[in-house]
């Protein structure tokens, strides 16, 4: 893949700098008063730097709770960042609530994870798809609107007549198509997709992923794609960012990440991909679970699970550093060259596969 360096040509469509979101774990006032202790916070996103070049896809992967969805919500303006900035096409929208300013927000839309929950069960499909059109006043007349809706339905592979139905009359894959139709109805340039296929069966997932790639080609869309599935991410992305407890531990061009994972956590993730060829192999995955985000370990958050951890890792938080091939990783071990050779065998031999049927 063309691993275009981050500071490549032109201005990236989306730029996120030092993005932070801290949730106050509001212990009731009285508890604090009587039990002492400070106000606790969950650092759901803790200083995130990202850039997504126009027309490309950046994916975020990481375990549940690492803050992927929070990033998506921050970018869409669904919640206010505690710090940092979000630039869309050069304009700072980090403090603008969802939908505002209309001329910028219209250009960015979102596709959600759960095709069952993302459509209002009491609305007709045509109304659902037309809602953004109405809100941004993009259609002159009802006929206009209906024509546009029909076009969108057919674009995503549904029948124009389906507009009169209710969501419950559709299968999961079809619903996700409706969500997509709604998302592209305002002719956005940028789509945030938060695990758009994780609730779908593989055979349907393939349809949706193909559709999204086609759309990208045809409409020149830029994606922020979120998933916990590395194989899916590989299929979709130009860039992959690996998150761990609110921080990016590694951002690399997709091929580079698989070929040459730097951060030990990335390696761990790659190692969890079961693979077809090594059938019945006993893996001994890294022990331990994702730590509690309320009280993350000091220094490098990953150090308790990391074989390479040393004193420095326990006390000092690493920062993202640029390495060869556009790879950026935040790890003292990598920086110091303590990291051993990549553990995951590469593309040539077997086809590791991680799949959800």
């Amino acid at each position: 893949m063309n691993a275009a360096p981050i500071a490549g040509t032109g201005q990236p469509l989306l730029q996120v700098k030092g993005l932070k979101k801290h949730f106050a774990m509001a212990k009731p006032f009285l508890n604090r008063l009587l039990e002492g202790g400070e106000q606790q916070t969950v650092k759901a996103v803790d200083g995130l730097d990202l850039e997504i070049p126009r027309g490309q896809t950046l994916s975020l992967v990481g375990e549940s709770g690492c803050g992927k969805s929070t990033v998506a919500r921050l970018i869409m303006g669904l919640s206010n960042p505690s710090g940092g900035s979000i630039l869309f096409d050069g304009a700072d929208i980090s403090r603008a609530p969802a939908g505002q300013p209309a001329d910028i927000r219209r250009r960015m839309q979102m596709i959600f994870q759960d095709p069952y929950a993302s459509l209002n069960p009491r609305w007709r499909v045509a109304d659902i798809i037309a809602e953004p059109l109405r809100t941004y006043g993009m259609c002159a007349s009802r006929q206009d609107e209906r024509r546009e809706v029909d076009r969108l339905l057919e674009f995503v592979g549904l029948n124009a007549r389906d507009g009169d139905k209710f969501p419950h009359e559709f299968s999961g894959g079809q619903r996700q198509r409706i969500s997509i139709a709604r998302a592209i109805s305002t002719k956005p340039e940028f789509l945030v997709c938060d695990e758009p296929t994780s609730a779908l069966d593989v055979s349907v997932q393939a349809q949706i992923l193909n559709l999204m790639r086609e759309m990208q080609r045809e409409l020149g869309l830029t994606y922020l794609f979120i998933s916990h599935d590395l194989a899916v991410v590989n299929f979709m992305s130009d860039w992959i960012g690996v998150m761990y407890l609110g921080r990016l531990v590694e951002v690399s061009p997709a091929a580079e990440l698989f070929a040459n994972p730097q951060h030990p956590y990335t390696r761990l993730l790659l190692d969890t991909i079961p693979d077809l060829g090594m059938s019945k192999r006993d893996r001994q995955p890294a022990a331990g679970e994702v730590p509690n985000p309320i009280n993350p370990p000091p220094g490098c958050h990953f150090h308790p699970r990391c074989a390479l951890a040393n004193e420095r890792c326990r006390s000092e938080a690493p920062v993202l550093r640029m390495y060869d091939g556009g790879v950026r990783a935040s790890c003292h071990a990598v920086e110091e060259g303590r990291a051993i050779e990549p553990i995951v065998a590469q593309a040539s031999a077997v086809h590791p596969l991680r799949a959800a049927v």
Partner: protein, 322 residues
């Protein structure tokens, strides 16, 4: 003789619009110590098959036909009380969500001891020792301290370990694991699967592993059954089914899985989606989506036929030619 023999199993749901057949004429065997993977799309009937075997179909669901034999003895027509004695003692089960599988009001220890003493003649003290042993066995650190804790004091992965201990503590010879890892984090999933594999092997227990996840099957199962719309599409050794699928559906399924490595321009995709149980087409249930469909497919329902090392239900293998 196989440990478990399922023959022409039918699971039905009477509804206002007639009887739904959620599992339709499914037959398979599970050998001693073998892990049989069951895959298929959501709603294909995987869980219902498992539930029928362990006798826990929720009403109005019912077994509408066929036989289930454990060690050659029929168990599908046992009285509720006899069936209860089979459950836990001979067949154990693990469900998807470890969070809700444990009763929040009883300590982990109480639940273990209770299960052990229901099935094995043991004093409370012995049972306690045995229970702590099980906790240690499934890899829970400081088991004697953990024994007296409540489920909510355990993390998700630990809870699933407890669930496994509970399913195994009366030493059944067959375990039905219905998506035991879907609710867990990616990195924990692998741990649990490894654990399951280890205990099955050590105790020479067989398992039916129901899952969405082809990767899990690939690593864990000896044989795999592929279900589609309540029917068995294909069954055979893992390597065979995954690498050289016989049924067009299995083939499509394998193709549509994204893989790590050089990425294709498009994934192979099967058009459409699995039919609802209410309108399964006549003939082969897969015929509307099948790339190799021919006229007969719309009329004749294929039987499971031996193909290579396994078996597939496709007219292509019935000597019918397009």
């Amino acid at each position: 003789m196989a440990l478990l023999e399922v023959e022409n199993l039918k699971v039905e749901f009477p509804t206002r619009k007639g009887v739904l057949t959620a599992v339709d004429n499914v037959s398979f065997n599970v050998e001693q110590g073998e892990i049989l993977g069951v895959v298929g799309e959501s709603g294909a009937g995987k869980s219902m098959t498992g539930a029928a075997v362990i006798g826990l179909l929720e009403p109005p669901g019912r077994i509408g036909g066929g036989q289930i034999r454990l060690d050659g003895k029929r168990i599908d027509n046992l009285s509720p009380d006899e069936m209860r004695k089979v459950r836990g003692r001979h067949i154990g089960a693990i469900f998807q969500d470890p969070l809700t599988s444990l009763n929040p009001l009883f300590t982990v220890g109480e639940q273990l001891v209770e299960t052990i003493r229901t099935h094995l003649p043991m004093s409370a003290a012995e049972a306690r020792k045995r229970a702590i042993g099980w906790l240690a066995e499934v890899g829970i650190p400081a088991p004697d301290r953990r024994f007296d804790q409540y489920p909510h004091q355990f993390s998700g992965g630990m809870r699933q370990r407890v669930v496994i201990a509970l399913a195994l503590c009366a030493e059944p010879r067959l375990i039905i694991a219905d998506e035991p890892t879907t609710a867990l984090d990616v990195s924990v999933q692998a741990q649990i699967i490894a654990l399951l594999k280890r205990v099955c092997r050590e105790r020479n227990a067989a398992a039916i592993l129901v899952t969405h996840d082809m990767g899990v099957i690939a690593e864990t199962a000896d044989r795999v059954a592929v279900m589609y719309a309540g029917r068995l599409a294909e069954i055979g050794p893992v390597a065979h089914v995954l690498q050289k699928p016989s049924h067009p559906y299995t083939a499509g399924l394998m193709g549509s899985i994204p893989r790590v490595g050089p990425r294709p321009e498009r994934l192979i995709q099967i058009e459409g989606s699995m039919p609802r149980l209410t309108d399964i087409p006549t003939g082969c249930a897969f015929n509307p989506r099948c790339p190799k469909v021919f006229a007969e497919c719309h009329r004749v329902r294929p039987e499971l036929r031996p193909v290579a090392d396994g078996a597939a239900a496709c007219l292509l293998y019935e000597g019918v030619t397009p």
